[in-house]
Symmetry: C2
């Protein structure tokens, strides 16, 4: 099995599609737009889940589970919400199949539901319908709840992980006494997402808020983290919404305040999804395959024996298994691949393709010299290390790789934020260089819309750290007070 990957240079999009499949992350299923997440890909997702779940719980959140189906009438209660999702809903209309006269299986027309059910595209409506029962007094607040679930948004053009009709995600839904508390929660979750994405995925992000037209359907403010892929396109990696009292009003969720008044509850919701897998692949990987940050690699170190005959293999296995045990005791996840059905060269290729951070090769000469060969996936460099020092060296390298992958991506991001002051330069940079374009915007929907339709660039965010300054809009020439970030995006 050769890798035969298309290179990024040749066709970035094709490279991505091939890599996801060949590295055993995911593949398309027989169901339009729905993917199969393969064991290796799922193991990475599980590591993401475990870490995020820990972070959520540390900040007082609890998990729960709400129904997959949402009655159509619930869905319609918040006007902007239904507008945002109506065009991409899978709808359940019947609850039974039957055998027809020819022995074929058909939907039983007599088993039609009185009210159609929507397969959740997001759960605000069903959750707020439940919160009405859970919230009576200020003593019931805050409600800090998260759900790990599958959701469905019917997509016409799909790509593995990045845009699929069904995807996996977590969705947090919180209820608060005051506006200030809810805004703080929405910001906290944006910060937790940024911490996770930067420290575990080694992907630098820019924090900001969305413009009105890019906001979540039903939100007053959407906080986001935006990452930059190697092809210069942006990817929204996570969003956290301040929902005001919109859903509380739509579902009549009130509480008795400390002062004994009936007030509407304040809300947030926030989510990240299997889309993060796409961001991980596209940020770090190269023409040889995946490059995984050690913090998320299901296998951090693989040991491959180089041998001829049973006797050599036995001697090498003794050293390898000892090393494996020592590393495991240090919390390093190790695989010793002694399968004799595959040659070392094939294995090297395979683990490179799968992005295993460190590869150890042990041959007969290594046994003599009491050394091993250590190969590093991100830089593709090799070194010979003495057996005594190898455990320490590996721990050091794993830390170093995690850091240097982040730094490399951060350098790339910084090089690809270009300040631009006129529209010709805007178009030129977008076409030739890509990345984020930092430009003044007059704050109107019209300008945003025109730039989008003329260039396909959207406002990714108004960065949280954007300075207040006087400027003129890159498109309209009207006065503007802040630079925002434009980019083409996934």
């Amino acid at each position: 099995m050769g890798k035969n990957l298309t290179t990024r240079e040749e066709d970035y999009s094709k490279w991505y599609n091939e890599l996801v499949v060949k590295a055993d992350l995911a593949e398309n299923s027989g169901v339009r737009g729905c993917m199969v997440i393969k064991p290796y890909g799922y193991a990475i997702w599980e590591k993401m889940q475990a870490e995020l779940d820990r972070m959520f719980k540390e900040t007082g959140h609890q998990n729960a589970y709400f129904p997959l189906f949402i009655p159509k009438s619930y869905f319609s209660k918040e006007a902007s919400h239904v507008d945002g999702f109506a065009k991409e809903c899978a709808v359940v209309t019947h609850y039974r199949l039957k055998t027809d006269e020819d022995g074929g299986i058909i939907v039983d027309p007599e088993a039609k539901l009185e009210e159609e059910l929507i397969v959740r595209p997001t759960s605000e409506t069903i959750i707020w319908d439940t919160y009405r029962k859970w919230v009576q007094s200020y003593r019931d607040l805050p409600l800090l709840i998260n759900q790990w679930a599958n959701v469905v948004r019917w997509e016409m053009r799909t790509r593995l992980f990045l845009r699929t009709s069904e995807f996996l995600w977590q969705e947090g839904h919180t209820a608060h006494e005051t506006e200030g508390e809810a805004i703080q929660e929405a910001q906290l979750m944006m910060n937790i997402y940024a911490d996770f994405v930067e420290h575990f995925m080694a992907v630098p992000v820019i924090k900001g808020t969305k413009t009105e037209s890019e906001r979540f359907a039903g939100a007053l403010e959407t906080y986001c983290i935006e990452a930059l892929m190697q092809d210069g396109k942006a990817l929204q990696a996570g969003t956290s919404h301040f929902l005001g009292q919109n859903f509380a009003k739509a579902f009549d969720v009130k509480f008795a305040s400390k002062e004994g008044k009936q007030e509407y509850v304040w809300a947030t919701s926030w989510g990240v999804s299997t889309r993060l897998m796409g961001a991980l692949v596209m940020t770090h990987s190269d023409d040889n395959g995946l490059v995984l940050p050690p913090n998320l690699a299901p296998i951090q170190v693989v040991i491959v024996p180089i041998y001829r005959g049973e006797e050599q293999l036995e001697a090498i296995s003794q050293v390898a298994n000892e090393l494996k045990r020592e590393l495991q005791m240090q919390g390093v996840s190790v695989k010793y691949d002694d399968r004799d059905t595959f040659k070392p060269g094939w294995k090297f290729n395979e683990y490179e393709l799968k992005g295993v951070p460190l590869r150890i090769a042990i041959g007969p000469r290594d046994l003599e010299k009491r050394t091993v060969e250590l190969a590093r996936r991100d830089t593709l460099t090799k070194e010979i290390v003495s057996k005594e020092k190898v455990v320490d060296r590996i721990r050091e390298l794993l830390r170093e790789m995690q850091q240097s992958m982040y730094t490399k991506a951060l350098d790339y991001q910084k090089e690809h934020i270009t300040e631009v002051n006129d529209y010709d330069a805007f178009k030129e940079i977008l076409k030739e260089k890509g990345g984020f374009i930092s430009a003044f915007w007059d704050g109107t929907k019209e300008t945003e819309e025109r730039i989008k339709s003329e260039t396909k660039a959207t406002i990714r965010c108004v960065p949280l750290d954007a300075k207040e300054e006087e400027g003129t809009c890159v498109y309209s020439g009207k006065p503007a007070t802040k630079r925002v970030l434009f980019a083409k995006a996934y």
Copy 2:
């Protein structure tokens, strides 16, 4: 908030329904037959998941994820399978909503799917359609894959956890070279389920096989574990199926054997679901509320301060927090409930209702005497323990409770397996005593069916340890070789 639970004596079924809701495990949602699993209930489910997941991985299984939707045509490929599930399928027929002339939201008739999609009631068909691509040679086998997922089986009469239209479960799907290997796998998983249910849930089970009519749709053999509830009804706690080559043939999954021949793959599937939550509640709980085995309790120890005024609370909190830290260091999960919005009596009630295994009360007299009061949930007994000894005593009690809850349930089970040799006694026992009835059966579907329609008792299993002996069928008087277990069941 008083408990005001219906007692088991009064109405076991009502007691169960009330308890599940009042103890914050789950509640009905606005969607017919679908439940909301509340944070406290979900925390127990997460502990179950974590332990099962560990056991699966230790035996070489990996997790993956397959689509929620199954095209109708896939579903029809295995004849007995579609027969088994056709009557309870949620069917997606459309992929868009729209606004009608009156401004209402309707299903867009133009967005009709060419082929209807079934919301998975179980995933054999979509998974075996995928395995065809994954299996070429014996080197690709075995495939040992598990999925944590939601599934939907449309139910007309539902009960929280026990029978809901949507439920959460895990489903293992494995592929093997030989029949023997597949049978071994199916038995291994039955044994893992039994280990988990007995050691973590403290629920004793009987291992056996299902009769042909109770088998999974598409299986050649179904292994099961059967538990007994406090009302004398049985509950199927987990099943593991040997599927033969049925799905391999339906989906054309072949492999090149070591000898170079093309052969069909052998299959198993196995699952447990949120139904286990129902078994947990019904096995151990009492008229005061839940009783949770320490191994699955989200909070193992709760500390409640008894005080008047800030000063006393402060002094007690110092002791309580120190104790909490010490217990946490020993891996015990502890909550210190110092909320001043609730009185101690209310809290005692609340934690009894929620089944927290141990409750510590600390009052001013305890401070003086350097003691605490320790109350045990299962026996409702109290003891005074010196502060120095309390950590050790707690660890001891948690172990003891786990064991004694199991023993108590096992005694109950043993007392409720009644050997019966004639049909009058059969009916009498079933009516007066309940539990399992061990009786000879002639092995025919007709007899099984008649007993079921006359008494509502079904054959729960042919126990694995059933002796081969000569006997006569309890119903037909025909010769029989084994005693099987009958019971009314959930």
